[in-house]
Amino acid sequence: MTLEMLFDMALVGAVVVAAAYAINAPVLIAGVFVYIVFGVLLSLVWVRLGAPDLAIAEAAIGAGITGAIVLDAARQMGMERRRNPRLRRWPGWLSWAATAAVGVIFAGVFLTVSEGRGDLPQRVQAELPRVGVENEVTAVLLSYRGYDTWFEVGVLLVAALGVLALRAPGESPARRFRWDPPAVADGAADMLVPGGILMAGYLLWQGSRGPGGAFQAGAVLAAIAVLLTLLGRPPIARVSDRARDALLVVGFADFLLVGLVAVTLGGALFEYPPAWAAPMILVIESAVAVSVAVTLSLLFAAGGAAGDASEGGVP
């Protein structure tokens, strides 16, 4: 056994244990913390498997934003009448047998597949000069599979609309987390906010050449918004509802618009002419980053329930 395999086994073992504890922890809030650890460990897995773009996205979105949203919800509904109740439709031995069967089937099927041997990487590489970006993942996202990514931005928009539609009457993000944060927290925010904005810009610009891109940049901006929301000054409350809606939509609309421009220039939808591809992709990515940031921060800020006793208290 090599040292590398030992590392792989330790990492996979830690991920699996964290996942099991996150769901089954006796105390809900402890499980939520371990879920955040699970996200960070998973981003280490992405680094190990040669996917740094995913590592950034997982750390910022999977562990960071999702973690903050679940933690906030656990604060409201963390009480369980019984400790960690479970459904008991089946006797214990039967449910364990079924679990083992499912696990064996998955592992069996996965192990019959060997690592990829197709020529997709070579084909992506060959077409790169026509796309105008050097980061292959960005090229796949914005150009080769533009439809997927466009609809993905659409899913974000639908989630934002759903959250807005479910708002309790009279609820607004500005009314959440009304407390007097310690000066230390405000001071740290004053240092972290400009740094975070700079980092988001860097990730956006860097995304055409190295790991990074619209989603990572948007997630970092959203993280800043979450920080400010926790301190009682949510950025989302500073813009009018109309402006907020415009910011939610701009990524989806701009993506389509640039795609249509490509059509008028003689290509298919999202088939940018090589000479213009780089600036067109940057225009799309900038708008998508803004929409991702506003959507994710709305998903956190608008999640509170009016009339819920935990609102307005110390987070």
């Binding site: 099991a20 897995v45 679940v70 509904m77 479970r86 499912v102 690592e115 989603f215 009016a306």
Partner: protein
């Protein structure tokens, strides 16, 4: 066992743990966490398909882009689900779905 094998077994375990959790746990937040862990297992297997242990070509970027899409969709779905769960909790005080004939 190869690197591929180790991570493939990990992906299978994540899927199994997640499915068991989503079916057995009653608390809605735990179920949402379980769904995210199922997602993690599926993403791990997808990325693994594009992983190349040897060879000149780097890892396959196509599954990576798909998983990046998946991560963003997962956060949208889970936060929407959480908002619904919080509304239910604020209105009824419940943290679980009512079960016909059980409970």
């Amino acid at each position: 066992m190869t690197t591929f094998g180790i991570y493939a077994v990990g992906a299978a375990l994540l899927l199994t743990i997640g499915i068991r959790g989503a079916l057995r746990r009653k608390h809605l937040l735990r179920r949402i966490l379980a769904l995210n862990i199922i997602g993690g297992g599926a993403f791990l297997f997808l990325v693994l398909l594009g992983y190349r242990e040897s060879g000149e070509a780097g890892p396959d970027p196509v599954p990576q882009a798909l998983v990046l899409t998946g991560i963003v969709v997962a956060v949208s779905i889970s936060s929407f689900a959480i908002v619904i769960a919080r509304r239910l909790n604020a209105r009824t005080g419940r943290t679980e779905l009512p079960e016909e004939g059980l409970d």
